[in-house]
């Protein structure tokens, strides 16, 4: 038991969700794209990696005929790439759509993908989900280093933190580059970069692909830590959770995206320690959501730019008459 183990696990969840938030921040924070398909990109990454690294099904419920036993690293790369491609494909059909229409298309695409996963059992095992997903380097742990034992979770957390840090650096760098400048211009007013000769559609596709790719990577990392995946893990609620994290943290700021994720994950975990014998304790799961909802409202009201968002940027140009 021990709290250390819980802390490590919660940190791993926060790390994986941070990757999702980083991808979402590229879409919404940098480019202003309303993406409601994030759970689907997460699922594609998880399923791709799981299928690439496990055998086809065996036993009674063996509806799955596809399976490879590639090393985990192949799964991680494959999951990211396929999720990125899925992002581009969804975007190609809808990137010319403005704001809320894009939101509708992405939301419905995500559900289509999830239902596809649920129904194409030959590929995904359908509703039964995929289990026995291998963990990378699982045999090497627990590792004895002098008097200290390093457990697998701790190793995985370290591995994950390296990936989160690398993604953070890469996406921040992109955001601050001339490439990011065009994305920001699209976010502010797409006609302007067009008038300046930028192929904004191409930039939007790249943004969508990159954000979806990192979400796919998150999915793959999730699958390889939690052994088993099934379609019910990838409901649209996951997308909304990440939205909440990005908005709370401050859209447009990658550190904010991570901070928002920590807030959401910790809120959920901390409320699990509320003792069961208080009044209304059976309503806890809903209270947990209400807490996050209230935080969201409070932040939108008092600090619309989010915890770490740029308040000045948000209000710039809002005061003018006309």
């Amino acid at each position: 038991m021990g709290y250390a183990s819980l802390v490590v696990t919660v940190a791993i969840i926060a790390g994986i969700y941070s990757l999702l938030a980083i991808g979402m921040n590229m879409h919404w924070g940098d480019t202003g794209l309303l993406n409601f398909a994030h759970a689907a990109f997460f699922a594609i990454g998880a399923y791709t990696s799981a299928i690439l690294t496990t055998t086809g099904g065996e036993g009674l419920l063996a509806s799955r005929v596809v399976g490879f036993e590639f090393p985990v690293v192949v799964g991680l790369v494959g999951g990211s790439v396929l999720a990125a491609l899925a992002g581009v494909v969804i975007a190609v059909t809808s990137v010319r759509l403005e704001g809320d229409y894009l939101a509708m298309v992405t939301l419905s695409s995500a559900e289509m993908i999830r239902l596809g996963i649920k129904n194409e059992a030959w590929l995904t095992s359908g509703a039964q989900g995929i289990k026995n997903i291998p963990r990378p380097m699982a045999d090497a742990f627990p590792l004895q280093l002098g008097s200290v034992t390093v457990g697998y979770d701790l190793f995985y957390l370290g591995f994950l933190l390296v990936i989160v840090a690398a993604s953070y650096l890469a996406f921040t760098r992109l955001s601050e580059s001339p490439f990011g400048r065009v994305l920001h211009a699209i976010r502010e007013d797409e006609d302007v970069p067009r008038a300046l000769g930028k192929h904004t559609d191409v930039f939007k596709l790249k943004s969508f692909g990159l954000g979806a790719g990192v979400a796919g990577l998150a999915g793959a990392l999730w699958a390889h830590f939690f052994f088993a995946i099934n379609p019910s893990m990838f409901l649209p609620g996951l997308t909304f959770t990440i939205w909440a994290a990005v908005i709370i943290g401050g859209a447009g700021n990658y550190l904010g995206a991570i901070a928002g994720t920590l807030f959401v994950v910790l809120t959920r975990q901390v409320t699990r320690f509320i003792p069961g014998d208080i009044p209304m304790s059976s309503e806890l799961p809903f209270i947990r959501l209400i807490v996050i909802g209230i935080a969201l409202i409070a932040i939108l009201y008092y600090r619309p730019a989010g915890l770490l968002g740029d308040e000045e940027r948000l209000v710039a140009g809002q005061m003018e008459a006309e």
């Binding site: 890469a170 760098r173 992109l174 580059s177 001339p178 490439f179 990011g180 400048r181 065009v182 920001h184 211009a185 976010r187 502010e188 007013d189 006609d191 302007v192 970069p193 067009r194 008038a195 300046l196 000769g197 930028k198 192929h199 904004t200 930039f203 790249k206 990159l210 000045e312 940027r313 948000l314 209000v315 710039a316 140009g317 809002q318 003018e320």
Partner: protein, 257 residues
């Protein structure tokens, strides 16, 4: 300073919105190295014409020729890349970006806008960015915006935004610069500076098509003026000629000549 072939030519432009004909058989030419003004009362079809020429509206009929090539089927960004760059009537500056970022955005052929180059910090991208910085500094100094370079564009006054938009367009090194009411909201002293700047650029070989409300200013600035009314070209020619065109005056003043 005209050459045999016009740099920009509109032929029989036509655009209807629902049953309303906004632009009907509009044709005109813009010669290289000239400043051409587009005038007319409200609703004359100036802005629609502008959007048709730059590709932000799709043509119902007609051709837009740039250096003799029909660009009517090209997207706005493709036309822009061919050297025809516009500004917007109501400033569309990027409020949430700094003044300097606004300027740099105008840079063309930038390797740093490619993902891989941006990630790896490729030398070609860094060099291009340096060039843009120098050019932006020059322009911002000229436009009197240098001190505001690190402000969000949204915090600028209306006139300053007009200047920024002009500067941003100039960053693209356009062949023909299309300005939609560039002087609206700019204070008179700056207006003078701007006008002389436009003349200097013209003398260096740049071409302008300007929509402007201020008839007096247009007449003093332009080499050629096109007068529009009710979606049609009423008259075109040197300012002194157009100035005296009865039909245009009638359009402006509702018959009271």
């Amino acid at each position: 300073m005209t050459t045999s072939e016009p740099l920009l030519e509109a032929r029989d432009l036509r655009k209807t919105f629902g049953g309303l004909t906004a632009v009907d058989d509009v044709s005109f030419t813009v010669d290289r190295g000239t400043i051409v003004g587009l005038i007319g009362p409200n609703g004359a079809g100036k802005s629609t014409t502008f959007n048709l020429v730059t590709g932000f509206y799709d043509l119902d009929d007609g051709e837009v020729r740039l250096r003799g090539e029909n660009v009517a089927d090209l997207s706005p960004e493709e036309r822009s890349q061919k050297g025809m760059v516009r500004t917007f009537q109501i400033t569309r500056e990027l409020t949430g970006m700094k003044v300097r970022e606004n300027m740099h955005l105008g840079g063309q052929d930038h390797d740093g806008e490619k993902v891989l180059h941006a990630l790896t910090g490729a030398p070609s991208a860094r060099e291009r960015e340096k060039e843009l910085e120098a050019r932006a500094e020059d322009l911002l100094e000229t436009l009197g915006l240098w001190e505001l370079r690190d402000e969000y564009a949204g915090n600028l006054s209306g006139g300053q935004r007009k200047l920024l938009e002009l500067g941003r367009a100039l960053m693209t090194d356009p062949d023909v610069l299309m300005l939609d009411e560039p002087m609206a909201g700019v204070n008179p002293r700056l207006t003078e500076d701007l006008l002389s700047m436009i003349r200097d650029l013209r003398d260096d070989g740049m071409t302008f098509l300007i929509v402007e409300h201020d008839v007096e200013m247009i007449m003093s600035l332009c080499d050629k003026v096109i007068g529009m009314h009710n979606g049609e070209v009423l008259t075109a020619g040197p300012p002194e000629k157009v100035q005296d065109d009865d039909r245009l005056l009638e359009a402006y003043f509702g018959g009271e000549v």
